[in-house]
């Protein structure tokens, strides 16, 4: 009656464990160099469990999540949340302040109520009893936060378990490189060229750090560019549609995640101000406005002069 089961395990490699799963609307792919199947699988299960736990906590699509329960509270009523969720909201508020409102997980409530102006100032946090008050009908959406936060937790998990090398690709947009590349040196993370996805428009060299990219299009598995306009400028309420991607590398995956989203809708001077607050940021803006064959690349670094240049083979620049 049944056909014989297909064997879908990866071809056996001695050098690395590899597996993937769906979470937070996208795909997480994990590579653990130097680990065999049994050790790798045990870590993989722990990673999946942790990411699933976080998704169930902050998902807008799970009516039981902490986030949904907060969003469902009647206007004017405050709600007590657990320590972790309170810390999450504090982190969001801090980032909202640092980015002068560009990173804003507060939404304007219901779609048919555009009159409500969003803003984290309408999310009041009371530290003494960990309560939250949403005013003016705002709702929270942690879409620009979740993957970075999850990678932060995964990174902690790896350090606790003494993992020397790991590479986590969370939906292409959030990448975590743990330790050095097993062959030595930095992991070379290329930001794919929009129309030549086998090439990199820019290359980050990182270890024990993360690269996060935001933009209004992504590249599907066949290499095709898919428009996905989902980033709204909180100042104007207008969806950003420019052919621009913003990538941020930082030791903290969460910081990289939040800033890449915010920088997409920030002015250059504002971006520079934020970068000056940290000493480990590298920010790269790739702008295809002048055509896909000549993206304009602008690079900003903590403690360094900013560089600007035209598209060329950037792999030379990696130290």
């Amino acid at each position: 009656m049944f056909s014989s089961p297909k064997h879908k395990k990866n071809a056996m490699r001695r050098s690395a464990f590899s597996n993937r799963f769906y979470a937070m609307g996208t795909r997480l792919h994990l590579i653990l160099p130097g680990l065999d199947e049994s050790v790798g699988h045990r870590l993989f299960v722990q990673v999946k469990r942790e990411v699933d736990r976080i998704e169930r906590k902050i998902s807008r699509f799970d009516p039981q999540s902490d986030l949904s329960r907060l969003n469902q509270i009647k206007p004017g009523q405050s709600a007590q949340v657990d320590e972790e969720f309170f810390d999450i909201l504090m982190a969001c508020k801090t980032c909202w302040k640092i980015t002068e409102g560009a990173f804003d997980p507060a939404l304007s409530g219901k779609e048919n109520e555009p009159s409500i102006e969003p803003g984290m100032n309408k999310v009041q946090l009371f530290e003494e009893n960990r309560t939250v008050l949403l005013t003016d009908g705002v709702q929270l959406d942690l879409g620009g936060f979740g993957k970075g936060y999850a990678l932060e937790k995964v990174s902690d998990l790896f350090h606790q378990r003494g993992v020397k090398h790991a590479f986590v690709n969370f939906g292409e947009s959030s990448v975590l490189a743990v330790g050095a590349h097993p062959a030595g040196g930095n992991w070379k993370i290329g930001i794919r060229h929009a129309t030549e996805p086998r090439k990199s428009a820019f290359v980050f060299g990182v270890q024990d750090a993360s690269v996060s990219t935001s933009g209004n299009f992504f590249i599907d598995d066949s290499g095709k560019t898919i428009q996905h306009h989902h980033i709204i400028d909180p100042k104007t309420g207008v969806t950003d549609e420019r052919p621009v991607t913003m990538s941020v590398s930082a030791a903290s995956p969460l910081l990289a995640e939040m800033l890449s989203t915010a920088f997409l809708v920030m002015e250059e001077e504002q971006i520079k101000r934020v970068i000056s607050l940290y000493d480990d940021l590298k920010v790269v803006k790739i702008d295809y406005s002048a055509g896909t064959d000549q993206p304009e690349i602008t690079e900003y670094n903590s403690n360094q002069h900013n560089e600007q240049g035209q598209y060329e083979d950037q792999s030379e620049k990696v130290s």
Binding site: M24, T26, R27, N169, S173, A194, S200, F217, F218, D221
Partner: protein, 424 residues
């Protein structure tokens, strides 16, 4: 996307002639090809409701909803418990009201009845109604004893009248979509089913009865007593036993199980927890458990296959093997070769073709529709046509037979198979 009536009809029309519709749920065609709905008094379908307690009231409201769009009348209501009798008259003041169902079928002209009485009363009422020439919609499970289940089924054949059992998932469009996707290999070969129904409740329907063991308690909280119910096995489990048979297109070969009262030891006679394993052909097992002292796991039926998992109660479909991102092969090869070259990887967030929710995707869109209402709409339509797909009755029959066999397994501690005489 939420599916309304119009979109639902487009979907069922698209399934017309498909093998899943023919083999798993031929009754869904009734919505695209309803019986002619004549507007005259002579065309009106006249329904009697027997048993207007908790479930019976819900069914009555559903029938009233249906009467807004169909030529249908609740012509009689019946309940032998005074407060329910009074409530029934209040809900349907225009109907003839009875305390004895035999008087009802004698005195009021009816086309069909809806029976929602305690389990042990189903058989005689159903048989009397069928023999009086009425079509019957009877709440699940069918009867308290195996022989009664068989007698009900046989009478339906002898009298050539419709007998439908209230497993409303049979009319749930999500299950229609799920059956189609399972048949097309959506999760690969099915290798196991798991199901559970966990609640944290004392399950007391009526509080002021004088407590367990009193005559009134036996009458109202009939689900607690061996004579009148198999407890959660018949009142909850039977729904999911029906689903398992339906998904696999088979009936079990055997069942084993255990049950006990380990928390709500208040004088009730039925288990407050049980665990069963049904064995199906080809070595496929359905493991099922029920508990009423813990609700953490909620309610679910999972269909497990080599390529994925479907969670039928939550409309979710999980892939076992998501595809690797394009960068994976390159990166793994480099690690294998001890090289460190640039990996073109980063960009804005990759999204799959179908949106994901908590690591899975919807089996089917979300419906604004109520499967109990669809079931009753089917019942009224089939009354007009004079017959219904036999598979619908058989689904109810097999579920009830295996409900009682499962109970037997828990009581004897033995592996139980179906005696020949109960096989159709």
């Amino acid at each position: 996307m939420r599916i309304n009536r119009k979109k639902f009809l487009e979907m069922t029309a698209a399934f017309a002639g498909s093998s899943v519709m023919a083999t798993h749920m031929p009754w869904f065609s009734i919505f695209n090809h309803p019986a002619p709905d004549g507007k005259g008094a002579a065309d009106r379908v006249r329904i009697g409701v027997i048993g207007v307690g908790s479930r019976g009231t819900a069914l009555t409201y559903n029938l009233q909803e249906l009467a807004k769009t169909m030529n249908l009348e609740i012509a009689a209501v019946c309940d032998n418990y005074e407060p329910h009798f009074e409530k029934a008259k209040e809900i349907v003041p225009e109907a003839d009201a009875y305390m004895d169902y035999r008087k009802m079928i004698e005195s009021t002209e009816l086309d069909g009845v809806v029976i929602a009485t305690p389990l042990h009363e189903h058989a005689q009422m159903t048989i009397d109604c069928l023999q009086a020439g009425l079509h019957v919609f009877c709440e699940k499970a069918m009867a308290r004893h195996l022989d009664d289940v068989k007698r009900m089924y046989d009478t339906h054949l002898e009298e050539d009248k419709i007998l439908m059992i209230g497993h409303q998932r049979l009319f749930n469009p999500i299950y229609l979509d799920a059956m189609d996707k399972l048949e097309k290999g959506g999760i690969g070969p099915i290798t196991m089913l798991r199901g559970w129904w966990h609640r944290n409740t004392d399950w007391v329907f009526y509080e002021n009865t004088g407590g367990r063991g009193t005559e009134l308690d036996k009458r109202l909280n009939w689900r607690f007593y061996d004579e009148t119910s198999a407890g959660m096995i018949s009142e909850l489990g039977s729904h999911h036993f029906q689903v398992a048979n339906w998904v696999l297109g088979e009936t079990p070969e055997s069942v084993v199980g255990h049950g006990s009262i380990n928390f709500f030891d208040d004088g009730r006679e039925v288990y407050d927890n049980f665990a069963l394993v049904f064995r199906y052909p080809n070595g496929v097992h359905f493991s099922y458990d029920c508990i009423t002292s813990n609700k953490h796991n909620g309610m679910q039926v999972q269909v497990l296959g080599n390529d994925g998992t479907m969670e039928l109660e939550s409309n979710m479909w999980f892939e076992e093997f998501p595809s690797d991102p394009p960068s994976a092969e390159n990166l793994l090869q480099q690690l294998e070769d001890g090289e460190n070259e640039t990996i073109p990887i980063g960009g804005a967030t990759w999204l799959p073709d179908t949106p994901l929710r908590l690591g899975g995707k919807y089996i089917s869109p979300e419906y604004e529709m109520n499967d109990t209402l669809l079931y009753l709409e089917g019942f009224v339509n089939y009354i007009k046509k004079g017959s219904a797909p036999e598979k619908l009755t058989i689904e109810g029959y097999n579920a009830s037979i295996w409900t009682l066999l499962a109970e037997e397994a828990t009581k004897t501690g033995q592996m139980v198979t179906a005696p020949e005489k109960y096989l159709l």
